[in-house]
Symmetry: C2
Subunit: 348 residues, 2 copies
DNA sequence: GGATAGCGAGAAGGCGTTTCTGCATCGGGA
DNA sequence: TCCCGATGCAGAAACGCCTTCTCGCTATCC
């Protein structure tokens, strides 16, 4: 009974439109549109008939046309560099999930950090009338912020605070200070910091917080800087930190990947035992930090929470487009594991 | 001189359209359209003038309207579950990069594997008239394939071959056989396989290839199955493999994460030394496999190459929509590191 | 002077939403 | 029982923005 004769097996090879549904259901195309608009005035019976026809034909509202009229799409852009790396992969996953949950459709622009590339990404997003842009990495140039504002497109920056846009970030400097305090409270006087030569605000803040707190209390801080904030960078930093005849008793690493590289270097090239001879603290608490090999004490940064806050910020911005930029600061806390010889009572 | 008086600082608060650019440049709106269409007949001088006006106004072609007319957008959908996990995070990164390089715009639908969720993802993608869909995980239900075909939307499946769509995959069974052969050639007679209880085609093929080759040559294979194919799953599998009084001399793990979990379990809970007492081979060759701690011998699966092939398949499908499904099989090769006591000469 | 490239103007087409208007129906009052 | 106003629903038309096509005209080149 569902093999209706009026539609032979001609090759459709195109998306069915509302007119076809209207014809099939014997109604006007406005009625079809209303049937798909919640709260529109259509009788229940007619709506049902229309839905049945739509289902049978495989009709799907054309969001391109809808967006054209609405002057915005449900598309939300995510601009990110190296989305496969460490914490960022988790953040991207959490964001895409949160956005989809919200009813948005995430576009992921995987690109470099240069101004040109960022501008190109933004243009693409403008072209699709994206509802908003979320930047995960790289400082957006001021022209970026300005253009988004001019076009009325909300812009959320993650992990940067110095821009004129809404952002959600964590207290990197505070965490750095806390790391220093924890080390000091456990009697370490010669400390180390493992960072990178590419000085992003995030890493600089962690470094500053740590170093200032440490030196303010008379401790010595030895610095090691790798090329990138990844495993190899951690190895390089370790090479620098453990090259001289004086080495740190405790090292704070700019993130977990760096900590892993550092730990592996230490295990392989020195006789130091972790944590007996050397305490290590990382940052991010990615799943690998909990692995037996590393069992890393680190600062927890919850990607799901950050994604949630980013989406909340987006909602707020849309309801109040004109209010001043909001800076949302998430707290972090240290997760004690076995890589640092720290007594739990000294945890602040 | 660029503060032109004819545009006072009125709040634009909307995207500028082609008519505004036309007015500003003193040309017709068709000319604007032509200027943005490569290969259209516009004089260089006029195009330049138009582009200057567009630049100044911040004009950006509305891809929604363009897509409406073209009946397709440059959007390409990526449907994926747990995009943050192991190899998949690298694949997603490589795909987004390759797609952007191609001029497409990737939509990432991060969702579950249930049929409902996949259908919802597909509907979203249809709604935006996505140029194509790429599925990274989860077997698409046959309705999915059928609907994509009916709508003329190319569908590329990664890591599954049993579907009626184009796919790119690797020779999992062959790799499994090779793993067994390498172990056998090095004198191991009691082998182990670390897999998962959730039997996806990928894992089943690797397991089958390994077990059949091994048993065909008279070796014994002990099986261990964790819950998921991740670190914790590897630990569980190890618990099973090393619980009895007879344990394997060499274990093939369904992927690198499982191998890491297994190695860590062995190091912590047994006296066995890797690779002296136990050889381990993994699968994927994610960056962590090269880390000092693991130094894992594993099968290399290049995400960039797979992404490249997926995009190539997409190009081909678009130029020849009606040809039968193509099954693109990539080769893998084993990467010898320190986790397996294997002499290089025995590598096939 | 005739061919031609370039350009402006206008209109159609793609598809869904929204507004406006007309019609039918229903309830209530005379 | 009849009529009027209110109400709900349906259809027509306009709109959003771009591309493409046609047509007619002008500047340009040989």
């Amino acid at each position: 009974m569902d093999s209706n004769g009026d539609e032979p097996s001609k090759k459709t090879q195109h998306y069915v439109s509302a007119v076809e549904v209207a014809k099939k259901a014997g109604v006007s195309r406005s009625a079809v549109s209303r049937a798909f608009t919640p709260g529109a005035s259509v009788s229940a019976k007619k709506r049902e008939k229309i839905m049945a026809a739509a289902e049978e034909l495989g009709y799907q509202v054309n969001d391109l046309a809808r967006g054209l009229l609405a002057r915005t799409s449900r598309l939300v852009g995510l601009v990110v560099t190296n989305p496969e790396l460490g914490y960022r992969s988790h953040l991207v996953a959490a964001l895409t999930k949160a956005l989809i949950h919200r009813g948005s459709v995430p576009i992921v622009i995987n690109t470099g950090r240069t101004e040109e590339e960022l501008v190109a990404a933004q243009k693409t997003l403008f072209g699709y009338r994206a509802e908003a842009t979320i930047i995960l990495s790289g400082s957006p140039p001021s022209s970026f912020v300005e253009l988004a504002r001019r076009n009325g497109q909300p812009l959320i920056v993650l992990g940067r605070s110095e821009t004129g846009a809404d952002d959600v970030n964590i207290d990197n400097e505070g965490a750095g200070r806390e790391a220093a305090r924890v080390f000091l409270a456990n009697g370490f006087r010669t400390l180390g910091f493992a960072g990178t030569v590419s000085r992003t605000p995030t890493t600089v803040e962690r470094e500053n917080g740590f170093c200032r707190e440490a030196t303010a209390h008379g401790a010595k801080v030895i610095m090691g800087h790798g090329g990138n904030s990844d495993y190899a960078g951690g190895q390089e930093a370790a090479r620098q930190l453990f090259a001289g005849n004086e080495h740190p008793q405790a090292v704070f690493c700019v993130n977990d990947l760096v900590a892993f590289g550092l730990i592996d270097h230490v295990r392989r090239h020195t006789n130091l035992n972790i944590p007996d001879d050397l305490s290590v603290i990382g940052f991010d608490d990615i799943p690998e930090a909990a692995w037996d090999t590393y069992n890393l004490t680190t600062f927890r940064q919850d990607p799901a929470l950050m994604a949630e806050h980013a989406v909340a910020l987006l909602d707020q911005r849309q309801s109040e487009p004109d209010r001043p930029p909001v800076h949302d600061r998430l707290s972090t806390h240290i997760v004690l594991r076995g890589s640092a010889r720290i007594s739990a009572s000294t945890k602040p």
